[in-house]
């Protein structure tokens, strides 16, 4: 087992927190409470990224998910009427629920299969923590984005452009 005892404790605490919050998100009846638990979940996952040594991903997680996605969720909730949503009775069993459960089980089995059957290679890539520290992790990411993954970098912008266009078309339909 790699990593110090401290890291393992933090990992398990955050993992349980993330799972607990995920459960709370889907079981709360008040949508804003769900949203707040979602934020805590994002923070827990950000800490796990930190444990993996990727600061920038952790920061991006907090900034994009806990910041931006959260605001989208909040506006979505305000778009619907909370009072009406509360009055909708809980459906006991629906096709969607059954399908969802089957999908979740399939995904879980798949993960388990992947972990059990094929042992993780445990190979060390070219970007070791020492090398990242020497150049600075963020600068390494930037350098790669500008050279090796330039196409992906530009495509990200294209994807987001298409996203905005789609959103505008959908929301502006009535005019």
């Amino acid at each position: 087992m790699e990593g110090s005892l401290f890291q393992w404790i933090v990992f398990f605490a955050m993992a349980f927190l993330a799972i607990f919050c995920a459960l709370m998100v889907v079981t709360r009846r008040n949508p804003i409470h769900s949203a707040v638990f979602l934020i805590v979940n994002f923070f827990a996952i950000a800490v796990i990224y930190l444990l993996l040594g990727s600061q920038f991903i952790a920061i991006a997680q907090v900034m994009v998910y806990a910041g931006a996605i959260m605001m989208l969720v909040v506006f979505t909730i305000m778009l619907i009427s909370v009072e009406e949503a509360r009055r909708v009775p809980m459906v006991r069993l629906s096709a969607g629920k059954v399908f969802g459960v089957i999908l979740a089980i399939l995904l879980f089995v798949e993960l388990l299969y992947g972990l059990m059957v094929k042992a993780l290679p445990g190979k060390v890539g070219p970007f070791t923590p020492e090398r990242l520290q020497a150049v600075g992790p963020v600068r390494t990411v930037g350098g790669l984005l500008m050279s090796k993954y330039l196409l992906a970098f530009e495509l990200a912008s294209v994807v987001l452009l298409i996203g905005i266009i789609g959103a505008v078309i959908l929301a502006k339909k009535e005019r």
Partner: protein, 126 residues
Amino acid sequence: METTLRDFAFVLAFAVLAILFALIAVLIPRFIAPRTVGLKTESIYECGMDPFGSAWIRYAALFYLYALIFIAFDVDVLYLFPVATSYVRGGNPEEFIALLVFVLLLVLAIAYAWGKGVFRWKYEGR
């Protein structure tokens, strides 16, 4: 790795202190502040009238659109931060071209939303 974790241990310590401090600040008045119980003490403030209707009203879809555009921009700008840290002074003009294309695509997005009238509010007229 160790330094990263220690950096964020500082952040965590400060965050915890912030919450602890706020908690103490809220708890102190419990012991020294007066308590009153009146007919309207615990009611919502609506300028003296009795509150009516629900406060949780629905908001215009326009806000939703603003939020969507914000997400796209937020992600885009976040990509630019690592690029900015590795941006070399002088030489390597390809980097500038890449940046130009990226930002122009963003400009296109805002121009599209502008043209489609996302930023136009109803009472503004045409």
